[in-house]
Symmetry: C2
Subunit: 470 residues, 2 copies
């Protein structure tokens, strides 16, 4: 018997140390890219228990993979194949500890499912604006560990911008209580933002204090046909100017992406896509009234049509219709999967460079792979594209991936770098992009990252080999 | 002759290495709390020169104090008294390198004066919202090094939230080009936010890419009498709900603070303060029109009066009147100085705790110092108070400070800690609060800060002894 397992059972109780049976829920990543093997899955029931687990593992020299909802896209929250790593699941740490209405904050444990936090906020009359496809199963701890983005970043920022304070178990098994509900606190280095986005490689986030916002009086959704990406960017500028902070969503979708939705989900009525290369979904959140929101939206769209950056547009007449429009946008990845395997990129660029980047990179890909089909969509308001590459029509997707994935990634990431973009906008690095990061990140930045990793986790026990290799 | 001085002259030119004459502009801090002595003041003209200066100093084992406008409040940007430190002034690095309208960003060098950036943004039709009393002389590099706050944090956040990317000279004299104009970039640890607020102790910020916002169509200012701090907090909640992100300023001012302005600046007409313990200044920035803004503002104030959290209010009729109201708020520190020396605290608290904190702490101070006068004002929207303590009427201010400063600081900071607040909301630590930080910061956090400092600046040459002592 492994004495560490005994010790872990003593800390969290026998039922919360899983070593046998089907552990695929913890060992297999979301996109099924990798299947690891854990020494054990440990599920502490409190921050104190989590700290003891880390101390026990550290004493045994055993490395730890922290895991929330295990919905990450870059193989960052599952164990490696060695069978020697402990998965520390935060799922049982799922209490909303405190909602402070006057302070507009909510303190929640890492294992809280994102959707349950949205609901807790709304029940108290507030908006918690973090929103993304996996919200029904991802956890706030994972959202923070990966600095999740999603659909409202144009107004509210990423998970980082929504967080005021953290509670963290360090690599030494100490508890740092940094659960500040303060909007200003200049007492030393910004440890909070260092842990946010560090993907469990520096310590384990066990709780967080998050910002809340007043619920808008009305939220309206529009769908616009635009003649080009350049014009989509111009529309974004007009929308910022006319709507200010009421612009809470700005998504772009290429024609082929929408064609896939129409083809594979025939019950969905996809508007306006047949005659135009791109459609844009806009969201307008208003603190006055629906009437006012509608007037402002129509004013914007009239202006945009006069300026010829929109050729046609509809404003949803009801909440149901608005949900249907969002549902089309959110169905693109599923429609893509129905069409077959594809090569995905989660990239960002300066908004001003997006149109040119796509023109140049589309052409490079078409030259290499005649007939290649681009599934291009994303959060244009934040410069974030999901720039995905699908086989030529009728091609064998598995063979295509095998032959082309590495070459396509290199081509796309080299182009991203030339245009001053990022090879990972919102998904992080995990293990999937560790090599790519070494190729594309500045050596000075990489060396600082390594120095910080060595400083905070000197024995390299926290999710080793992910994000940055020592 | 010191060979380092020779080397520095070779790098930046003779005229940019100052060793003699009156160097008080660089050696004396803003509040005249401390006068240091520099080995030399060095003024590089480019990032490359700044990097060579750091390399030369590092090779000589000479420590470096980075300096922008030298308007800091905590003695963090002047040399110590040893005569061995080099002051690296960023003043000559003052170009706006690039304004990207479609990306809503502006890239500027560290030595740019804040006001000149506000003007550059406005000239291009945009708002750069960082705004604070020293804006005519402070620099963006200093603003970022101290994570400056100011008057618009309630809407736009601190300097940190406005920054998308940095260029930094590391302690090794390497240049890290992290000048990203990206709103999403999850490629590794958040080095940007680690340098922001590190007060020159980890490296030197030489340039930054900052966010721009669309200029509002109208900005209105109101002044409201409120019966208590509790009611001021209730008014804040109503203002968030009614105005949403249009609420761009929310300042509170105690009666005695306003009385000092009225007494020492007789030409200013201070409204409504005589019959009420607190006044609030609200700012409403609207993307539609002045008419719309006025309607929304009046609706809010009517609701607040019905709810009895406002007893009387005026909305400025003109821009001139609005400036006059802001000018009253900004004159409080000067009026206080006219009244005599006083003990200042730049603290923050959860907004929900502010009223109780003031009641308890006011009472503790009144018990210790009969007749003590509280000058209490600040950015209530962010939970940030300037909670200042003035002698009892007719008291000898110098003697009062000598006898009481340390005791009052201890009493106030202990109370801040009990209420979950911060002992430095927006001014930072510098050298003035290094001892206090050691007393009030969690030992786990302090140890992580030290580990990071050792990792990035192993020879302790960057502004040593400031923020955190090794």
């Amino acid at each position: 018997m492994n004495p560490l397992i005994d010790r872990l059972r003593h800390i969290v109780g026998d039922g919360n140390v899983l070593c046998e049976g089907d552990l695929s829920a913890w060992e297999q990543d979301w996109r099924k890219r990798s299947r690891g093997k854990a020494l054990a899955v440990v599920r502490p029931g409190s921050t104190a228990e989590a700290a003891l687990v880390v101390k026990a593992c550290a004493a045994a020299g055993t490395s730890i993979v922290a895991q929330g909802g295990n919905t990450g896209m870059v193989v960052g929250s599952v164990p490696d194949a060695s069978g020697t790593q402990v998965v520390l699941s935060l799922q049982r740490l799922n209490a909303v500890r405190h909602l402070d209405a006057a302070n507009l904050t909510m303190t929640a444990e890492a294992g809280c499912v994102l959707q349950s936090l949205q609901q807790a906020a709304e029940a108290a009359g507030f908006l918690f604006p973090l929103s993304l496809a996996a919200e029904g199963s991802c956890t706030i701890g994972g959202n923070l560990a990966t600095n999740a983005g999603g659909t409202q970043v144009v107004r509210y920022g990423n998970a980082r911008e929504l967080c005021l304070g953290l509670e963290v178990v360090t690599a030494q098994g100490e508890i740092w209580n940094g659960l500040s509900g303060l909007r200003k606190d200049n007492t030393g280095y910004d440890l909070r933002d260092l842990f946010i986005g560090s993907e469990g490689t520096l310590g384990i986030i066990t709780a967080a204090t998050m910002k809340l916002y007043p619920l808008p009086a009305a939220t309206l959704t529009a769908w616009a046909a635009v003649p080009s990406l350049e014009e989509a960017v111009r529309l974004l500028g007009l929308a910022h100017k006319h709507l200010g902070a009421s612009l809470t969503g700005f998504e772009v979708m290429g024609q082929f992406a929408l064609e896939l939705v129409a083809r594979h989900f025939r019950q969905m009525r996809v508007p306006l896509y047949q005659q135009t290369p791109f459609c844009v979904l806009l969201e307008n959140s208003d603190h006055e009234s629906e009437l006012h929101a509608r007037g402002r939206f129509e004013g914007l769209l009239d202006t945009a049509m006069e300026a010829a950056c929109v050729t046609d547009a509809v404003v949803a007449e009801s909440l149901t219709q608005a949900h249907q429009l969002w549902h089309i946008r959110e169905s693109i990845p599923l429609a893509q999967a129905e069409e077959g395997l594809n090569i995905k990129h989660d990239i960002s660029l300066p908004v001003s460079a997006i149109a040119e980047f796509c023109r140049v990179t589309d052409a490079l890909l078409a030259r290499e792979i005649p007939g290649v089909r681009m599934v291009n969509f994303g959060h244009l308001g934040d410069g974030n594209l999901h720039y995905n590459v699908q086989t030529p029509p009728g091609g064998d997707a598995a063979a295509f991936l095998k032959d082309w994935e590495e070459k396509v990634n290199t081509l796309v990431f080299d182009s991203v770098q030339r245009f001053g973009g990022s090879i990972s906008a919102e998904h992080g690095i995990g293990s999937l992009k560790v090599d790519k990061l070494e190729q594309h990140k500045s050596p000075v930045a990489l060396e600082m990252m390594r120095a910080i990793k060595r400083a905070l986790d000197p024995h390299n026990l926290m999710n080793p080999g992910r994000v940055v290799r020592l």
